[in-house]
């Protein structure tokens, strides 16, 4: 700080010094002419006596700098000596500051990595932007656009050097190289200008360029990621030019992307393929149906907002030209107008950033609170000590020490603390950053997020600690330096005042800590409610593994038999209690993947069918997930392709169509053509016989928009190549390796796409956010509790020390030890009580903010509030124990001699 002031003062000082020299020379000349010299003689003599103005000025500057450095060194030495004299205080203060600063820095690091930094490994990141789709009036639209829209935007825009597109979701494919078995890897289809626009060069061979085409089926070529190349091929440069098989099709490896480039999303692909090869990598996809994420490089001198104005116009124009969309029943949709937005490039798509940003802000608020608690703690102790040093300070003021100088010294002391705290905090942030990533459920995908402690993060941590240091050091410093000279010298007055101020700090600490602990309790209760029960199925102890049978060339003729054999073998794995297979995981998205027609029941709003979620399952599915049957039977081996079509309905669906009637034996049909452009062409769907009714399954936290009809059909009658194995194991043991072995034994060309536990697979963004928020506020609250306990101990111990004489008198006058214990405890626990009640009231208000995150946990959950209050009472008692014992053991004779 004094360095900055020095810089500001430097120019004035130089001018002043210059003036002083000139004035002195002037005076000398005057003196000498007065003594009878001629003007010229006098000037010469004066110059001689000065001995070189520049030399003098240099020496003055040296003297100044030396003196200032001396002052700083003196302050620092004084501060360090004071801290060393009180190591417990120094240690707890440093620790608590380190924790607060570290936690805040961690959150900032994550925000920085996800929201503020361009993807790693690109050139000139400042000119990179992403272009995303926005639906006007809807903040959470998907950022992706149809490939055709991308082509139009690329053709019409003039502000960009280049516009590229890539698929935001990676496509799992099976890879075979040489004679090794198949391996599941992640591919990303990109336009062939992807690398050149990003400015990513090849580490070996070449990346896509003008020679490659975006045309459908254009070129079976791939670029490998450096990470994948190193892992899978041991960084063998001869791989360039060789052929590998992706989903059985030959692809030529043309090169390796340079090291450090991990793609443009949060997930790192292993290989990149041209967009024209999308159909080869994923059955049924082609550029015509592809949804892509767009990015671009601005022309030099073009700003993002200029570009946004242009893309906005293009987007609106495209919307006007496009034919109107139809809904499921062929009714035109009153779609919201949509356009394109432009924002700086980062791994998180622009329109999701506010959501992630808001969540990170919530976390920042939580950890900011611990920093406030830590600052209150430090300020409290500094204040107490400053008060204790009033006499000393008053003496120094009396003998003429400058007030600014004193304040500077007191602030130096807190600066030293905060410098230690910031250094430890940065170290802590390193560890905590990886810890937070570990709190997330195990991702089945390779993450591309890099969370470096860059200059921005270091600046944040330094700025934060500086502000905190000045804030918590200034109040005590001002308080102390205001010391009224005469009264402070007369008597050490004001200990009661000092105690009161410190008590306020302790009460505030307790209140904030209990608020955090309550929030943690509520959030983890909500998390438990979301993940565990009452969804209608039992997700615990179920291993799931996803496969894409088309990767190994199975068709609707061969796939069902393979699937049935696979399930049979999985059931034989030791420890597996039940196993089955379905077309997908139960996830929290409401899926409309077909219409449902019920003879004699009219669908609403003029539609020709009911919106429905169709699930394709194998026999044993309901038993494996413990979904009970209400009536009827499960599918069996006899429900084959070509035999009578059968269906199992969810209880609510059956009741909706046939209230009060027996649904068994009724018929429904699956309408697949959702957008009936030409009704005459629609095939009559074959009727399916209802053979069973099962309980409803509620997958997400219970916020259902409009309940779709739910139906289940057997795999042989409705084949799909993408299947997921469900295997319930005894005691929840993991069987990922065994599953892999079973699949490999049956077909070595068939890789498992993902393998995880069902609970993990179901941890959607809501659960992840709850888990992280609960962990953070729990950790922060516990630490706050620890700090508050130290505060209670400090205040109580200080009060006992101050009242030693009084206690001695009371004992001498016949007070029992019990009376003394009660008296001291009353004092300490009063602080705890006031703090706790304040905190609980705050929590009652704050829980309103958590509102919708609580998933039915009552806002004033008595369990959480009660437990928190009890916890703080117990900790308060422990903190009071030592001072109370000391008070009870006061010897009246010694106490009366005390002081």
């Amino acid at each position: 700080m004094s360095l900055l002031r020095n810089l500001l003062r430097r120019r004035r000082f130089e001018r002043d010094l210059d003036d002083e020299m000139r004035a002195t020379l002037d005076l000398l000349v005057h003196e000498k002419t007065g003594a009878g010299m001629t003007h010229d003689e006098a000037r010469r003599a004066a110059a001689l006596e000065m001995g070189g103005v520049e030399v003098v000025k240099d020496r003055v500057r040296d003297a100044r700098a030396g003196a200032q450095f001396d002052v700083l060194r003196q302050d620092l030495r004084y501060a360090v000596r004071l801290l060393a004299r009180n190591p417990v205080f120094a240690l707890t203060a440093t620790l608590s500051l380190a924790f607060g600063i570290g936690a805040a820095t961690t959150i900032f690091t994550i925000a920085n990595g996800l929201l503020l930094r361009a993807p790693a490994g690109v050139s000139e990141p400042d000119r990179l932007v992403e272009i995303f789709h926005v639906e006007i009036g809807n903040r959470l639209t998907q950022p992706v656009v149809p490939y055709a829209d991308y082509l139009e935007l690329r053709r019409r825009s003039t502000m960009f050097e280049g516009v590229y597109a890539y698929q935001i979701d990676l496509t799992p494919v099976s890879l075979r190289a040489d004679s090794d078995g198949a391996e599941r890897i992640f591919s990303n289809v990109v336009t062939t200008n992807y690398f050149s626009v990003l400015g990513v060069t090849a580490g070996a061979g070449r990346v896509f360029g003008d020679a490659d085409s975006d045309g459908s089926g254009a070129g079976p070529v791939v670029v490998l990621s450096h990470r994948f190349w190193s892992r899978r091929f041991n960084a063998d440069p001869t791989i360039v030019g060789r052929t590998v098989r992706l989903n059985g099709q030959p692809f030529t490896v043309i090169g390796i992307a340079r090291e450090g480039f991990l793609g443009t999303g949060v997930v790192a692909p292993d290989v990149w393929a041209p967009v024209g090869m999308a159909a080869t990598l994923k059955a049924g996809s082609s550029p015509d149906f592809l949804l892509v994420m767009m990015g671009a490089r601005l022309k030099p001198g073009v700003t993002a907002s200029q570009a946004a104005a242009e893309t906005d116009a293009i987007g609106l124009a495209l919307g006007r030209e496009r034919p109107r969309a139809m809904d499921f029943g062929g009714v035109p949709v009153e779609g919201a107008a949509s356009t394109f937005g432009v924002t700086g490039a980062s791994p998180i798509p622009g329109n999701i950033r506010p959501l992630i940003g808001a969540f990170l802000a919530l976390l920042m608020g939580l950890v900011g609170m611990v920093l406030v608690i830590a600052c209150a703690n430090v300020a409290g102790v500094l204040l107490a000590r400053a008060a204790a040093r009033r006499r000393e300070i008053a003496v120094r003021l009396a003998i003429g020490a400058g007030r600014a100088r004193l304040i500077r010294q007191l602030i130096t002391e807190s600066m030293v603390l905060f410098a230690l705290g910031a250094a430890a905090g940065l170290l802590l942030a390193r560890g905590m950053t990886s810890l937070v990533l570990k709190l997330l459920p195990a991702f089945p995908l390779p993450l591309a997020v890099s969370l470096p402690l860059d200059g921005r993060v270091a600046a944040f941590a330094t700025g934060l600690s500086l502000v905190a240091a000045v804030l918590s050091g200034l109040a005590p410093a001002l308080h102390a330096s205001k010391a009224d000279v005469t009264s402070a010298l007369k008597a050490d007055q004001g200990p009661a005042d000092r105690l009161r101020l410190r008590s306020v700090f302790v009460v505030a600490q307790i209140a904030l800590s209990i608020l955090l602990v309550v929030a943690a309790g509520l959030l983890s209760r909500a998390q438990g409610r979301v993940t565990s029960t009452s969804h209608g199925f039992d997700s615990r102890g179920v291993e799931v593994a996803s496969l894409d049978l088309s990767m190994a060339g199975y068709t609707s003729a061969t796939g069902p038999d393979f699937a049935r054999e696979l399930v049979r073998r999985v059931r034989q794995i030791p420890g597996v209690q039940a196993a089955s297979l379905a077309d997908r995981l139960l996830d929290d998205r409401i899926v409309f993947n077909g219409g449902l027609i019920v003879p004699g029941v009219q669908p609403p709003r003029g539609r020709s069918f009911f919106a429905a979620t169709w699930n394709v399952v194998e026999p044993g599915y309901f038993a494996t997930l413990r979904i009970p049957f209400v009536m009827g039977r499960d599918f069996s081996a006899d429900d084959r392709a070509g035999s009578q079509g059968v269906v199992i309905l969810a209880e609510s669906t059956a009741r909706r169509f046939w209230p009060g009637q027996n649904p068994l034996g009724k018929h429904v049909a699956w309408q697949t053509a959702l957008i009936a452009t030409d009704k005459s062409k629609a095939q009559p769907a074959p009727p399916l016989l209802v053979v069973g009714v099962v309980r409803d399954v509620l997958v997400n936290g219970g916020s259902r928009v409009e309940a779709p009809a739910v139906a289940y059909v057997p795999l042989p009658q409705r084949y799909t190549p993408e299947v997921t194995i469900f295997a319930r194991t005894a005691g929840g043991q993991r069987i990922a390796r065994e599953l892999r072995a079973v699949v490999a034994a049956m077909n070595s060309n068939l890789p498992i796409v993902t393998s995880q536990t069902l609970e993990n697979a179901q941890a959607g963004p809501v659960q992840i956010q709850l888990r992280v928020a609960a962990s953070v506020s729990g950790a922060v609250g516990t630490f706050g509790l620890f700090l508050a306990a130290i505060g209670v101990y400090g205040v109580t111990a200080y009060a006992v020390a101050r009242r030693t004489r009084e206690i001695g008198v009371r004992i001498a006058l016949g007070a029992s030890r019990g009376d003394i214990v009660v008296m001291v405890l009353q004092h300490g626990m009063a602080l705890v009580a006031v703090g706790s009640i304040t905190g609980l009231l705050l929590a009652a208000v704050a829980s309103r903010l958590l509102g919708s995150l609580l998933f039915g946990v009552p806002r004033l959950d008595p369990l959480t509030f009660g437990t928190s209050a009890a916890l703080f009472a117990v900790v308060g008692l422990i903190a009071c124990y030592v001072p109370t014992r000391r008070a009870a053991r006061i010897n009246p004779v010694e106490a009366l001699r005390y002081e």
Partner: protein
């Protein structure tokens, strides 16, 4: 003042110079040249302080909080930078005077012995 090492000589001189400057300013405020002349006069011409030593010392003492400086008009109506003692400077002068007397008495006694 024939001390054994240059270092000790320098520090001795510096301490003496500081004391002399403080003493020179005890009665009235002076500009730089005035301090120099006053010291010359007080010591009967034994100490002639060159500007190269004087100004760094003045600035050092100002930085230490013992002197305060301000621009004023000089006796013959020229602008000059005047130095005066602060409270702390007076205190320092008293301390250093006491210390110097201790040393002087002790050395005198030692030399008489």
């Amino acid at each position: 003042m024939r001390a054994s090492t240059p270092h000790r000589r320098a520090s001795l001189l510096q301490g003496t110079l500081d004391l002399l400057i403080l003493k020179a300013l005890a009665a009235t405020e002076l500009h730089g040249l005035g301090v120099s002349r006053r010291i010359e006069q007080m010591t009967g011409g034994t100490f002639v302080v060159q500007p190269g030593s004087l100004f760094p010392a003045l600035h050092r003492l100002e930085e230490a909080g013992w002197l305060r400086a301000a621009w004023r008009a000089s006796e013959n109506n020229r602008r000059a930078k005047y130095y005066e003692l602060t409270k702390a400077g007076r205190r320092q002068l008293a301390d250093e005077t006491r210390e110097w007397n201790h040393i002087a008495v002790a050395i005198a006694r030692a030399l008489e012995a």
